[in-house]
C-alpha cells in the first residue's frame, strides 16, 4: 500500500483509534475502579501516555517486527474491532432498536467499512476529517452540563489506597488502546517532519483534555454511589439536559458517537490490512472480505451486557502486552541485531 501522511492526518487517525472505541464507556469503569481518585489517576495516565509517545518516536526506526509479531497485532486489532462493534450493537439495542435483529444493523455498518476498505488508502486516511466538527460539538455539548456539576465531588482523595489507585490506573489504560498504531503509521509520515517537541506535546495535551473533560463532567454530575448503574454515563448525562430547540440532546450525540465509532472500525480494519500487506503481497481483496466476515459474524454473539463485559475483561492486559511490552521486546531485539 502506497500512501503518505501529513502530521495532522497522522495524529487525527491516532486520535480516532484511541477514542472511538472507548470514549463513552471508560468513565463509568474508571470511576467504579478508582472512586474519587479517578481524575488524579487519569492525570498519571496522561503523563505516561505522553512518555509512551515520546518513547515510540525515539525508537520507531527500530520497530521492525517479524511475521509472528505482526500476526499478534492483527489479532489484537480484530479483537478491538469485535469489541467496538459489539458495543455499538449493544448500545443501539438499548437506546434505539430493541426489536431489530442486531445482524441487520451490523450488516450495514460492516458494509460501510468494507466499502471504505475497498477504496484507495488516500480515502481512508482522510476520513477522520469528518469527525472534526463532531469533536467541537462534543465539547460544546459538555458545556451545557457545567451549571449542574457538583465541584466538591472532586474530593476527598484517597491516594494512600494503593490498590484502588493501581486498579484505576489499569482501567484507565483503555484510553491508550490505539497507541500501537503510532509505530505502524509513523514511517508513513512525510520524512522531513520532526515529531519530538511541540507536535507530540500538542497531540498528547489534546488527547488528555478530551478524555479528562469527559471524566470530570461525569464524576461531578453523578454521585459515586450511583455510577455503577449508569454504563454509558455521558449519554445519560446529556439525556438529562434541557435545551429549547431539542428535547433529547443525547440522541444527537448517540449518532455522532456512532459515526465516530464506525470510522474507528474502518481505521482499525485498514490497519489490519496494512500490517497484512507487509508480509503478504497477494490479493488484498480476499483478506479484506475475510476480516469483514469476522466483523459480521462474531459481534452479534457478544452484544449482551454480560458477554460484552466478558469480552472487555482482558482488554487492559492485552493492551499492556501489545502496546508496551511487545514494542519494547521488538526494539531490544532489533537493537541487539544492529549492535
Amino acid at each position: 500500500m502506497k500512501f503518505s501522511l501529513t502530521p495532522i492526518q497522522f495524529f487525527l487517525i491516532i486520535f480516532l483509534l484511541q477514542t472511538g472505541s472507548v470514549f463513552i464507556t471508560f468513565q463509568t469503569r474508571l470511576l467504579e475502579g478508582a472512586g474519587r481518585n479517578a481524575w488524579v489517576v487519569f492525570i498519571m495516565t496522561g503523563i505516561l501516555h505522553y512518555l509512551l509517545l515520546l518513547f515510540y518516536e525515539r525508537q520507531h526506526s527500530r520497530f521492525l517486527p517479524g511475521p509472528f509479531v505482526l500476526l499478534l497485532y492483527k489479532m489484537y486489532w480484530i479483537y478491538i474491532n469485535v469489541l467496538s462493534l459489539s458495543n455499538i450493537l449493544y448500545s443501539l439495542a438499548i437506546w434505539l432498536y430493541p426489536n431489530t435483529p442486531s445482524i441487520v444493523l451490523l450488516l450495514f455498518i460492516v458494509f460501510v467499512s468494507f466499502y471504505a476498505n475497498c477504496c484507495k488508502p488516500d480515502t481512508i486516511i482522510n476520513l477522520p476529517v469528518i469527525i472534526i466538527p463532531a469533536i467541537l460539538i462534543f465539547f460544546f455539548s459538555l458545556v451545557f452540563v457545567f451549571p449542574d456539576l457538583e465541584w466538591t465531588w472532586l474530593f476527598p482523595l484517597d491516594l494512600k489506597d494503593v490498590e484502588l489507585v493501581l486498579n484505576g490506573f489499569l482501567i484507565s489504560q483503555v484510553t491508550v488502546v490505539g497507541a500501537a498504531s503510532f509505530l505502524f503509521l509513523r514511517k508513513r509520515v512525510v520524512s522531513d517532519v520532526k515529531m519530538i517537541g511541540w507536535p507530540i506535546a500538542i497531540y498528547a495535551s489534546f488527547w488528555f483534555l478530551f478524555f479528562f473533560m469527559s471524566l470530570i463532567v461525569v464524576q461531578l454530575f453523578f454521585p459515586l454511589e450511583t455510577i455503577a448503574i449508569v454504563p454509558q454515563a455521558l449519554l445519560y448525562l446529556l439525556k438529562s439536559q434541557k435545551v429549547n430547540f431539542v428535547e433529547r440532546l443525547d440522541l444527537f450525540f448517540l449518532f455522532i458517537w456512532m459515526m465516530w465509532s464506525m470510522i474507528t472500525v474502518i481505521l482499525f480494519a485498514f490497519l489490519i490490512r496494512l500490517v497484512h500487506a507487509e508480509t503478504n503481497s497477494g490479493k488484498q481483496y480476499k483478506f479484506n472480505l475475510l476480516i469483514h466476515m469476522v466483523f459480521l459474524l462474531v459481534p452479534p454473539f457478544f452484544a449482551t451486557r454480560d458477554r460484552l463485559e466478558m469480552l472487555r475483561e482482558p482488554l487492559v492486559y492485552l493492551h499492556l502486552t501489545i502496546v508496551v511490552v511487545l514494542p519494547i521486546f521488538v526494539f531490544i531485539k532489533n537493537r541487539r541485531k544492529t549492535i
Binding site: 455498518i109 482522510n126 476520513l127 469528518i130 429549547n244 430547540f245 428535547e247 449518532f255
Partner: protein
C-alpha cells in the same frame, strides 16, 4: 489511380448535395468539389478568383492564403476535408488538394443562456459556433498566454475537440493528461458534450458531475485564470471546465458582481440549501417514524395532530410528494414556456392543495417537500441540482428503514464516495479534504476582490 469526378462521387457515396466539376486552372485542370449544404458559394467564388490570380502570377505557395491550404492527395484526406465543410480542389497530376475553408455559418446571437441568468455582469452567452465561443473568451482574456488547441478525435478523425488554457497558470502535467485523454478517444460517433464528459470523467457511475458545464464566457474566463482547462465542441454552446471541486458548483458570477457581504451571504445560503435539499425529507421521516421524542413537546403535539389522519407511512407520503414535484418540474421543462408555467401553477397550487384536502399527505409534509424543492433550485448548476434531487431518495429510504442510523450510514457512504472522486485527477472534495485553509474559507465567504489581486501578485498568478 488518378482521381476523377466519378471517383470523388464514389468516395461520398454519390450524395446529392455534392458539387463536383472540372475547373480550369493556369497549369492544369482541377476538380473542384464541396457540399453545397455546408459551403458559402458567394465567398467561394471570391476566394477562387484570388487563388487563380496568385497561380497565374506564379507566386510561390500560391495555394496558401488566410482561408486556404494544400495537402498531398489521399482519399481519406479528401473525405475528411469535405465532411468538415471545406472546399477541395484536386490537381490529379500534381497529386495535391487545395482546401478552402469557407463554411456557411448560420449562428444565432450570443444571448444570455436561459439556465444561467445573472443579475449584474455580462449577459453574453456561448452559441453553437466554436470559433465565436473562443472569440468570446479571448476578448475577456487579452493576453498572449491564452492557448487554444484543436484535436481531431475518433477513428475517422472527423470530430474536432478544442481545449484551451492559460499557459502560465495551468499545470503542464494537467494539460498533457487532457491531451492524452482526448487523443485516446476512439469513438466514431461523437456529437454531444455529454459524450465528451463521459470520456473525460474517471467515475462514470457517480451521481456527481465531475466537470463543470457552463454557457457563460465570463465564467469560463475566470476559471481559466484559476488554472482550469476548458473543452469546447463545435455545434454546442456548452463549455466544459475542469478540474473542479464539489464547491465549484455552488458559485456564480453574481457572487463577484455583488457586494462582498451580500455575495458571502448567498454563498452560505447555497451551502445551507445543499444540506436541506439532501437531508430535510430524510430528517422529517426519521423524526416522525423513529425519534419523535427528539422534538420539544409543543412541536411534537403539532406533528402528531398533522399526521394522525394520514393513511400512509411518512416515507410513502414523502415519496409520493417528491415524485409529484419531479413530475411538475419535468413537465414544465418539456412544455413551451407559457404552458410550462401554467402546469407549475396547476400542479403546485391546485393539485397540492387537493392532495392535502383529500388527506393523502399532511400539511407538514407539503412544507418539508416544498422547502426541499426550493432549496435544490437555489443550487446554480443544473447538473448538481439534479444530482442533489436524486440523492435525497436513498437518504429517505435509509431514514424510513432505520431512522437516524440509516441517515448516518448514508452520510458515511456519501463522504467515502466524495473522497474517492477525482476531477481530472484532482481531489473532488478539496479544499475540505485535503484541507487547505486559504481555499477553505472561500467556500463560505466571498472575500474582497482586492485581496485576491494582492495574493495573485504575490504568487505571480495574475498579470
Amino acid at each position: 489511380m488518378k482521381p476523377n469526378i466519378e471517383h470523388v462521387k464514389k468516395l461520398v457515396y454519390e450524395t446529392d448535395d455534392l458539387f463536383v466539376k472540372m475547373i480550369d486552372w493556369p497549369f492544369e485542370e482541377g476538380i473542384i468539389c464541396y457540399f453545397t449544404t455546408l459551403v458559402d458559394g458567394g465567398e467561394l467564388n471570391k476566394q477562387l478568383a484570388l487563388l487563380k490570380r496568385q497561380a497565374e502570377a506564379k507566386t510561390q505557395n500560391w495555394a496558401i492564403s488566410a482561408a486556404s491550404s494544400s495537402y498531398p492527395y489521399t482519399d481519406d484526406k479528401l473525405q475528411n476535408l469535405l465532411s468538415l465543410g471545406e472546399t477541395a480542389i484536386i490537381f490529379p497530376n500534381a497529386n495535391i488538394i487545395v482546401a478552402i475553408n469557407l463554411k456557411k455559418e448560420q449562428a444565432r446571437t450570443t444571448d444570455e443562456p436561459e439556465n444561467e441568468h445573472v443579475i449584474t455582469g455580462s449577459h453574453e452567452g456561448f452559441i453553437e459556433n466554436k470559433d465565436t465561443n473562443i472569440a468570446l473568451i479571448r476578448k475577456r482574456l487579452l493576453r498572449a498566454d491564452f492557448v487554444v488547441k484543436n484535436l481531431y478525435t475518433g477513428n475517422k478523425n472527423s470530430d474536432i475537440v478544442t481545449y484551451a488554457y492559460i499557459a502560465t497558470v495551468a499545470d503542464p502535467q494537467l494539460v498533457k493528461m487532457i491531451d492524452n485523454k482526448l487523443s485516446a478517444i476512439s469513438s466514431d460517433e461523437f456529437f454531444t458534450p455529454g459524450q465528451l464528459i463521459e470520456y473525460m470523467e474517471e467515475h462514470t457511475w457517480s451521481p456527481f458531475p465531475q466537470l463543470l458545464v457552463t454557457e457563460r464566457p465570463d465564467r469560463v474566463a475566470s476559471n481559466l485564470l484559476e488554472g482550469r482547462i476548458v473543452l469546447l465542441m463545435d455545434n454546442s454552446p456548452t463549455a466544459i471546465l475542469g478540474p473542479v471541486t464539489l464547491f465549484s458548483f455552488f458559485q456564480t458570477p453574481d457572487d463577484f458582481n455583488s457586494r462582498t457581504l451580500v455575495g458571502s451571504f448567498y454563498r452560505l445560503l447555497r451551502i445551507f440549501s445543499l444540506i436541506t435539499a439532501i437531508f430535510l425529507p430524510a430528517f422529517y421521516v426519521s423524526v416522525v417514524s423513529f425519534h419523535s421524542e427528539i422534538l420539544p413537546i409543543e412541536i411534537s403535539k403539532q406533528v402528531k395532530l398533522a399526521i394522525n389522519e394520514i393513511p400512509y407511512r411518512p416515507f410513502l407520503e414523502a415519496f409520493i410528494l417528491e415524485i409529484f414535484i419531479e413530475l411538475i418540474r419535468e413537465a414544465s421543462m418539456r412544455l413551451p414556456t407559457p404552458i410550462g408555467q401554467t402546469i407549475a401553477i396547476v400542479g403546485g397550487l391546485v393539485v397540492g392543495d387537493a392532495i392535502v384536502s383529500a388527506g393523502l399527505v399532511s400539511n407538514l409534509m407539503v412544507i418539508v417537500v416544498a422547502m426541499t424543492a426550493i432549496s435544490s433550485f437555489v443550487i446554480p448548476s443544473a447538473e448538481m441540482n439534479m444530482t442533489i434531487r436524486i440523492l435525497r431518495f436513498p437518504f429517505m429510504l435509509g431514514a424510513a428503514l432505520f431512522g437516524f442510523f440509516g441517515m448516518v450510514i448514508g452520510l458515511l457512504l456519501l463522504f467515502i464516495h466524495l473522497l474517492n472522486l477525482r476531477s481530472m485527477g484532482r481531489p473532488y472534495f478539496s479544499p475540505v479534504i485535503p484541507f487547505d485553509f486559504t481555499r477553505f474559507k472561500d467556500i463560505f465567504v466571498r472575500l474582497p476582490f482586492l485581496r485576491f489581486l494582492r495574493n495573485g501578485k504575490k504568487k505571480g498568478v495574475r498579470e
